[in-house]
């Protein structure tokens, strides 16, 4: 197997802001990605297949729920560690990071934060080890940026709840063993329910023909008179703040993750530009190439510092939702631009599967839309600084 060539850009010595343990965590996941993701990811994407065999391994290295306490199967690590893990996974592919994000922030986090002790003990260790796969159902066919208008609902039938409705654009849905589903009760209050594969009336058809996140499985969750046992409701939260707190955690992971995709593109383009010659000179010697590379490293440095600061705030429980929105929005945008600019540096070679740019670029088109669209995050900042809601 050819050795993966990668030199992590650290122009502002951000590594000095990390502990030795953070660096060990990052380098361990980096090694794993080099060994297990890089060699297979192009083919998985080309074939539109999720590399399912990696879920167990992600569990073994501890990429699922790294900040969940050890007694529930997590590693009890801090938020910067979680961010670094996401960064390295997304350097491999956004699909792999998405699988870990969903499992950690959207499934394990709500069960840990809002679940009963029985629910925690039943689900968290199996989700941490990758023996069970999770999914999160919030978005609906007619309600994306406006989840408060969701139509999925359940009725109290005495000894069970009766769930009806549908969710769409759900990462992992066709392969998920357990789903955290957000639905309204008879008083129109949003609650979280734990659905298990095989419940009668519950199906999860796959969404095919994606040009993005091709190495990830996406699908629907359809509930047709599903009887949900009463002990499957998350007792600890009522209202939209439940799902939104999960999204805060996932968006935070994305703000780190996309730096990995950006670094992969930048590092590839820098190396290529020094080797590729035109007019008898390396293309790195041309001003327009240097402009692209210089802008890339500038934006990567800013994104790294933003992510680090946000992680520090989160470690102290001080990060606001609006700060997370700004970091997610900024970092995804710069990663997408870097994917495009680095693709240009590689010329025609950049469109092939031999290099990661097109794959990252297409993935990032999803990442800029999911977990709050690019525009909505800007309006969150707008509302935060003006006090005026411009959503509706």
């Amino acid at each position: 197997m050819p050795e993966v060539q990668y030199i992590h850009p650290d122009y502002f010595q951000v590594d000095e802001l990390l502990s030795d343990e953070h660096i060990l965590i990052r380098d361990s996941v980096r090694d794993w990605v080099n060994r297990r993701v890089k060699p297979i990811i192009n083919e998985a994407c080309q074939k539109h297949e999720f590399p399912l065999h990696l879920t167990k391994e992600l569990g073994e290295i501890g990429a699922f729920g790294p900040y969940i306490p050890e007694k529930y199967g997590g590693a009890g690590l801090d938020q910067i560690s979680y961010g670094l893990i996401m960064q390295e996974l997304e350097r491999g592919d956004s699909a792999i990071r998405s699988a870990a994000s969903v499992q950690s922030s959207l499934v394990m986090y709500p069960i840990y934060k809002y679940g009963s002790e029985e629910q925690r003990r039943k689900y968290l260790p199996l989700l941490a080890s990758g023996e069970k796969i999770g999914a999160f159902g919030l978005t609906e066919p007619n309600h994306g940026s406006d989840p408060g208008s969701m139509q999925t609902k359940f009725e109290d039938k005495g000894d069970h709840y009766l769930l009806n409705g549908a969710k769409m654009w759900i990462t992992n849905s066709p392969i998920a063993d357990v789903c955290v589903v957000w639905a309204k009760d008879e008083d129109k209050i949003v609650r979280g329910l734990l659905l298990e594969k095989g419940m009668q009336g519950f199906t999860a058809p796959e969404t095919l023909n994606k040009w993005s996140l091709r190495a990830s499985v996406t699908g629907e969750l359809v509930f047709d008179n599903v009887k949900v046992p009463k002990e499957n409701i998350l007792p600890g939260v009522k209202g939209l703040k439940g799902p939104l707190s999960c999204l805060n955690s996932a968006r935070y992971g994305i703000a780190w993750g996309v730096i990995g995709a950006a670094c992969d593109c930048y590092d590839t383009a820098l190396r290529y530009s020094l080797e590729r010659k035109q007019f008898s000179r390396p293309i790195a010697s041309f001003q327009l190439t240097q402009k692209k590379l210089s802008e890339m490293i500038t934006e990567i440095s800013k994104a790294q510092l933003l992510a680090w600061r946000l992680g520090t705030l989160r470690n102290n429980d001080k990060a606001t939702a609006a700060q997370i929105s700004m970091a997610k929005r900024n970092n995804v945008e710069i990663a997408l631009k870097i994917a495009r600019d680095s693709r240009q540096i590689l010329g025609a070679m950049g469109i092939t599967g031999d290099f990661p740019m097109m794959r990252h670029m297409m993935n990032l088109e999803s990442v800029i839309t999911y977990e709050g669209t690019h525009d909505i995050h800007l309006l969150i900042t707008g509302m935060d600084i003006t006090g005026i809601n411009a959503f509706a």
């Binding site: 660096i23 060990l24 965590i25 361990s28 794993w32 060994r35 790294p66 590693a75």
Partner: protein
């Protein structure tokens, strides 16, 4: 049975090597440090032996200053039970072996990488065996525990050799001793926080060599491409330019 794995702290293999002080010392500014790849494989094999049963404890040891501790922590995260750091900068092979001899006496099996990827000295393992009066085998590519003996595989020219040898033993291992190094899991990294890393004072010893001067290899010459049908030009180039024919 107790196993000791010797861990050398070396610059990452992608490091751009530079020297300071008029080419008399290695410039370690900005260098990423890793476990010497041969030592990492030795640790992996030690873990496999422990998992197979019959090994009570794996210790890792290093001679170096506090800055080498992240390397030892990684070894603990991979699965070693405890670590020893002899608190002194590593000088030459004799000096390092002399320091290790003080902490290595009570082990049944010592695994040493055949060389360290920085200075490629190939000397510490053999010297240590001599100082401890332990048996020693070099170029080991396979080792297993067989009752009170060790079965050892060595790669030799054109084949391999199988040995049976009694302990205590210093096995100087090369590639093949384990398939690939283990990657620490997050839970292993957490557990490593609580494992003992014992710092011991150095003993009085003097190195037997001193570094006089370093030199970087000459830069690679430009690559000339010769058309596959033009063997004659290739021969001319090899004869007149490369002067190897």
């Amino acid at each position: 049975m107790k196993i000791l794995v010797l861990i050398s702290n070396v610059p990452d293999t992608t490091t751009k090597v530079r020297f300071t002080g008029d080419n008399t010392s290695f410039d370690d500014a900005g260098v990423q440090w890793i476990i010497n790849p041969w030592d990492e494989l030795a640790l992996t094999r030690a873990m496999e032996l422990k998992e197979a049963g019959g090994v009570d404890k794996i210790t890792v040891a290093n001679v170096g200053e506090k800055t080498t501790e992240p390397t030892l922590r990684k070894a603990l995260a991979v699965g070693a039970d405890d670590a020893i750091r002899v608190d002194v900068p590593a000088r030459d092979a004799y000096f390092v072996a002399r320091q290790l001899a003080e902490v290595a006496k009570d082990y049944d099996l010592i695994l040493a990488g055949i060389e360290a990827s920085d200075y490629n000295g190939n000397a510490v393992g053999g010297m240590l065996a001599e100082m401890l009066d332990f048996n020693s085998v070099s170029a080991v590519s396979g080792i297993s525990i067989d009752g009170d003996k060790f079965t050892v595989n060595r790669e030799i020219d054109g084949g391999s050799q199988l040995l049976s040898i009694t302990g205590p033993l210093v096995a100087i291992v090369q590639k093949g001793i384990a398939k690939e190094p283990r990657i620490p899991a997050m839970r292993g990294i957490m557990m490593a926080r609580k494992k003992p890393l014992n710092v011991v004072a150095a003993v009085d010893a003097h190195e037997k060599t001193s570094y006089v001067n370093y030199e970087l290899p000459a830069p690679k010459a430009a690559c000339k491409m010769v058309d596959e049908e033009n063997a004659k030009e290739l021969i001319t180039l090899l004869h007149e330019e490369a002067k190897v024919l």
